[in-house]
Amino acid sequence: MGVSPMSSTGVGPVAKKKKLPETRARRPCHEMGSIMLSDEVKKEIDAEARHYPQRRAVVAEALKAVQARRGWVDDESLRDVADYLGLSFDEVDSIATFYNLIFRQPVGRHVILICDSVSCYLTGYEKLLDHLKKKLGIALGQTTADGRFTLLPNACLGLCEQAPAMMIDNETYGHLTAARIDEILGKHE
């Protein structure tokens, strides 16, 4: 089951997180060394860090760089980011869990963000959500068994003039109907 770190059930992130093996969790960051981050990711983080006086300013960018490659941010990668930026695991995780688009649990190949803010709500969000759930056989916060789609709510996509709207990966889709959704989903393998 893939769930967004902040699922709409209101259950906190810590409750659902995978537990680290004991020995690893107890060792302080500085002893672990950075073993996971690729040179490419490090270069990206360093380039970003040049814009700020404090390295901690680039935590979000660093997490995005990891997620762009792995699809989500696992505990090991998060620890590596913490080590690389000279921060603690807790400090980085509190930032990671603040952002709803940093995924702390595995997601499908495509992430559907369905907009549930006011314009989309008025123009039929509920019906479309029902359609999506039925079609994919999952609830909000879940991933299809074949790992193809993860369905998440989003507070606003900024597409009110095209409401109702959704976003899959980096593409936005407006003026949605059930038929149009079927067509769009079909294009995502």
Binding site: G12, L20, F89, S94, T97, F98
Partner: protein, 913 residues
């Protein structure tokens, strides 16, 4: 001072503070959550809203959060404005949406700031019918329990733990109504100050796990003013008792000492009082060699005879009160009184006392440490030896960055803004130590070396600051490149502070710190000098004088003594095993007076049960020479009494007089003061036992104390009268003065409508400021202005390595190195196992394969089998061992030792020679 108008009445308030502080200081009840007098303003909870008017004509006004608005002259505000009242009630209703209705089973109930504020705002009816959000709680270790469902998102915990105390294993996770305060994963909180979350949290998210083991509501606790006995800083505490058991320790506010907080050793060390190792009956050695409980009269007769017949010496203790040590000294005579520490430790305590009095640099209270703007730590790992000193130094590290905040005209108490401006900037903190310390994260520069080289660094800095201070020859380059910038920065600071202490066992280090501080004073700086102290009365013992244990042993060897009376001291912790055995074999009779079974009591011929700090009155001298009084929290168990009282009875039993010279506490304090000029002000520390307010004593129990008639109903249906307390103006009773007691006698903080700790606001001249009639306690020593600094001209040779040998240095541990707290179950669970730490290069050179290898350390004639820890921060040729933890207790360290791979088999972590 400014004038502000509240409800059109003029009030004088201090400039530069915020409206909330002003209103609370004036005695108005403004509800608040996120603001805390020590952690300052952030404006997160929206609870402290008041109406601010533009002028006398403005009738509409604006709702503003009082904690983030600075007071201004002529400002007009209303707290009772209907719109403000309505706003505050709605805010709390909103905060209560997700708060469970579990007060009856919540450990915070009855002293909950949220309860108080809810009642204060008049929000008595919940209207929400929706399910409440729930969280999964974490196991945060042996000290703090976690119940996230109760959270109202005020952020105080994170702001205390991370921002104020520097913790990095705690945070705020998630967003929206799922915001979660805790750790990324379950696990023991790493901060030395985690227990303060219990007091800082305005509701029951973080509660005291040790209290939960024997839970009692605040209104059922018998409490009294006390002093922490687990290090030398003398933090003020309020322990609470019920059913003859100590149940918790909370901080007692002292604006000069610990302020609002305590360290976890001080908060959770108290369980030794309830330990099953307590000695509750006099014990006498029997024919068959066993120690058996006997009647008090029999024990007194035995000891009285032994003192009369034998050539008796008395051995006092740095953890016993002034009064107890003084009574022992009177009983055996000054020339037969010994202060109960090794020659090394006695010399260090005396050197500290000497340095604080003969030089021109004043010492500091913990509060004054927070006002220093550059700090050099010389050899002391303060977070392990005197944790609250580390917390104070952390606050000092903010002073230079905060100058920028002041320059931008931002009030320093606008915490979020101040921290945004200062970012990661840290004021100058320099650390010279044998290895890593827990404050290293704050350090601008770190120097690691053997104790002698650390002393040389101090001396070198002194010379760099003041060329008339003795020069250090042959200073290596790396030492100079540390000392030079440190000297420059200290010279440029407004109030530089030099910190050292006894933990490395080096008098030279004490002298070097003094030289550095004196040089700064001579260079015209408002410098300060601070030494940590190992025991709660180390300085008091040094002030009383008396020989060390080597001298005591010498007296036994020469036959001039054959009877030893040992009070509140385990000699095994202060002398090596061989000396300890020799002392026991030379003494014809050994009498031990103490509260816990330990090596000395187990070997004594007679043991008398002593009261702990919680069952006695006494005076302790802290690391800055401040005398502070502690009082009984609960009456001692039947056969137990204060050690000084035992001394009085032994006075009679040994035929010295018809009656005890000290029938009560005031009598012994008076005797102490008349004999020692330095203690002449000790009687005035607190009102005498005869003190009354409106004809009444001060009740240790709240007026809501319940079940008094039922407390002993399992033994008798008659309600016994409350125990008498002839030694103080406090009573073991609910009855007592309705007025606010003098500050030294405040047993608890409570005010109408304020059941939580925040009631303290009502006891202060201004919130966060001193108590109404001044903070209790008085510093007994003062610096001596000299025309010239009396520099030590010690010549310390550079540390010389010895082939095949290691200099074994003691590394202190907050949990484990202090024996009383180590007997407390929650603390014991965090004590380290014995180890020997080496740096990797030294270990490789010695043929040690790696961590966890078993080795045999040969040290001072003993062979100790130990497990190796690799510590890359340890200076070369040093080996570190845990101080005060078996088998290292009683060893005078540093000392040279050799290490060899252990033969297979055999026992680990101990063993004799």
């Amino acid at each position: 001072m400014l004038t502000i108008y509240i409800h059109n009445e003029p009030y004088r308030v201090k400039a530069g503070i915020n409206l909330l502080e002003a209103c609370l200081s004036l005695g108005f009840n403004v509800p608040y959550f996120c603001w805390h007098p020590a952690i300052k303003s952030v404006g997160a909870c929206r609870q402290c809203a008041v109406k601010v008017f533009k002028g006398p004509e403005d009738t509409r006004g604006t709702l503003l959060m009082s904690c983030v608005v600075p007071v201004a002259d002529g400002m007009r505000i209303s707290i009772d404005d209907p719109e403000a009242v309505h706003f505050r009630a709605r805010v709390i209703e909103w905060l209560m949406l997700n708060h469970p209705h579990d007060c009856p089973v919540c450990d915070e109930g009855g002293e909950c700031h949220l309860q108080d504020m809810t009642v204060m705002t008049g929000h008595v009816q919940r209207r929400t019918r929706f399910p409440k959000r729930t969280h999964v709680n974490q196991d945060l270790g042996p000290f703090v329990a976690h119940e996230m469902n109760r959270c109202i998102q005020c952020y105080r915990c994170q702001r205390f733990y991370c921002d104020y105390a520097g913790g990095r294993d705690f945070g705020v996770f998630g967003w929206h109504d799922g915001v979660y305060f805790g750790r990324a994963q379950s696990g023991t909180l790493q901060s030395e100050f985690a227990g303060n979350l219990v007091e800082v949290c305005p509701t029951g998210v973080f509660t005291d796990k040790s209290l939960a083991q024997h839970y009692t509501r605040k209104w059922d606790l018998t409490t009294g003013p006390s002093i922490c006995v687990h290090c030398g800083l003398g933090c003020n505490t309020i322990p609470g008792a019920r059913y003859g058991q100590l149940r918790r320790v909370y901080s007692r506010f002292n604006s000069q000492v610990n302020g609002y907080f305590l360290c976890d050793r001080g908060r959770y060390g108290y369980e030794f009082v309830n330990s099953d190792r307590r000695i509750l009956q006099p014990r006498l050695r029997q024919e068959d060699g066993s120690l058996a409980p006997v009647a008090k009269a029999q024990a007194l007769a035995f000891v009285g005879q032994a003192l009369q017949r034998g050539k008796a010496i008395g051995i006092g203790s740095p953890r016993a009160s002034l009064e107890t040590n003084f009574a022992l000294r009177k009983l055996v005579g000054a020339e037969h009184y010994f202060q109960g520490e090794s020659a090394q430790k006695s010399a260090i305590s005396e050197a500290i006392l000497d340095c604080l009095q003969r030089g021109p640099t004043p010492t500091v209270s913990l509060h004054e440490v927070e006002t220093c703007d550059a700090v050099l730590l010389l050899g002391e790992d303060v977070l392990n030896t005197a944790p609250m000193l580390g917390l104070a130094i952390r606050q000092a590290s903010r002073n230079q960055p905060l100058e920028e905040v002041a320059r931008l005209n931002v009030p320093f108490w606008l915490d979020l803004v101040a921290r945004l401006i200062t970012q990661d900037q840290i004021g100058p903190i320099f650390i010279a130590a044998t290895g890593a310390t827990r404050l290293d994260g704050l350090a601008r520069q770190i120097y690691r070396a053997a104790p002698d080289d650390l002393a040389r660094i101090g001396l070198a800095i002194a010379h760099l600051v003041d060329p008339t201070a003795p020069e250090v020859s042959r200073l290596p380059d790396d030492a100079f490149s540390f000392a030079h910038p440190v000297a420059e920065v200290l010279k440029a600071a407004k109030r530089p502070l030099i910190v050292s202490g006894p933990s490395l066992g080096s008098v030279e280090l004490i002298h070097a710190a003094a030289n550095a501080a004196w040089a700064l004073t001579r260079a015209g700086k408002d410098a300060r000098l601070c030494y940590a102290a190992e025991s709660c009365n180390s300085l008091g013992a040094a002030m009383l004088g008396g020989g060390d244990l080597t001298a005591a042993l010498e007296l036994l060897r020469s036959g001039q003594a054959d009877t030893v009376l040992i009070v509140e001291n385990d000699l095994r912790r202060h002398m090596p095993e061989n000396d300890f055995e020799e002392l026991l074999s030379l003494a014809r009779c050994v009498i031990a007076v103490d509260h816990l079974e330990q090596a000395t009591t187990q070997r004594a011929h007679c043991v008398l049960p002593a009261a702990t700090f919680a069952e006695a009155e006494g005076t302790l001298i802290n690391n800055e020479g401040r005398a502070q009084r502690f009082y009984k929290v609960l009456p001692p168990p039947a056969a137990v009494q204060e050690s000084w009282r035992w001394m009085g009875e032994l006075w009679v039993a040994s035929g010295r007089g018809e009656a005890s010279p000290w029938p009560n506490f005031d009598a012994i304090v008076a005797a102490l003061a008349s004999e020692f000029a330095i203690f002449k002000d000790v009687p005035a520390l607190a009102p005498p036992a005869s003190f009354r307010q409106v004809g009444q004593k001060i009740g240790r129990q709240p007026h809501r104390y319940s079940g008094r008639t039922a407390e002993t109903a399992d033994q008798t249906v008659f309600e016994p009268p409350p125990p008498e307390d002839a030694d103080s103006a406090l009573a073991f009773s609910m009855e007592g003065t309705p007025l606010e007691p003098p500050s030294a006698l405040i047993p608890r903080y409570w005010a109408p409508g304020w059941n939580s700790l925040a009631a303290l606001n009502k006891f202060q001249i201004e919130v966060g400021g001193p108590l109404h009639d001044g903070d209790p306690g008085q510093r007994l020593i003062a610096p001596k202005p000299y025309p010239q600094s009396p520099y030590f001209k010690d010549f310390v040779s550079p540390f010389a390595r010895r082939p095949q040998q290691f200099l074994v240095v003691p590394h202190h541990h907050i949990y484990g190195s202090e024996p009383l707290s180590a007997a407390s179950a929650p603390v014991a669970s965090l004590c380290p196992k014995p180890y020997i730490a080496l740096n990797g290069a030294d270990a490789a050179a010695a043929g040690i394969a790696g961590a966890d290898q078993e080795v045999v350390l040969s040290l001072a004639g003993a062979s100790l089998r130990l497990s190796v820890i690799l510590d890359s921060t340890l200076a070369a040729s040093l080996a570190a061992v845990p101080a005060g933890i078996a088998p290292f207790e009683g060893l005078d360290l540093p000392a040279w030792g050799t290490i060899a791979a252990a033969p297979a088999g055999g026992q680990r972590g101990g063993g004799g020679s």
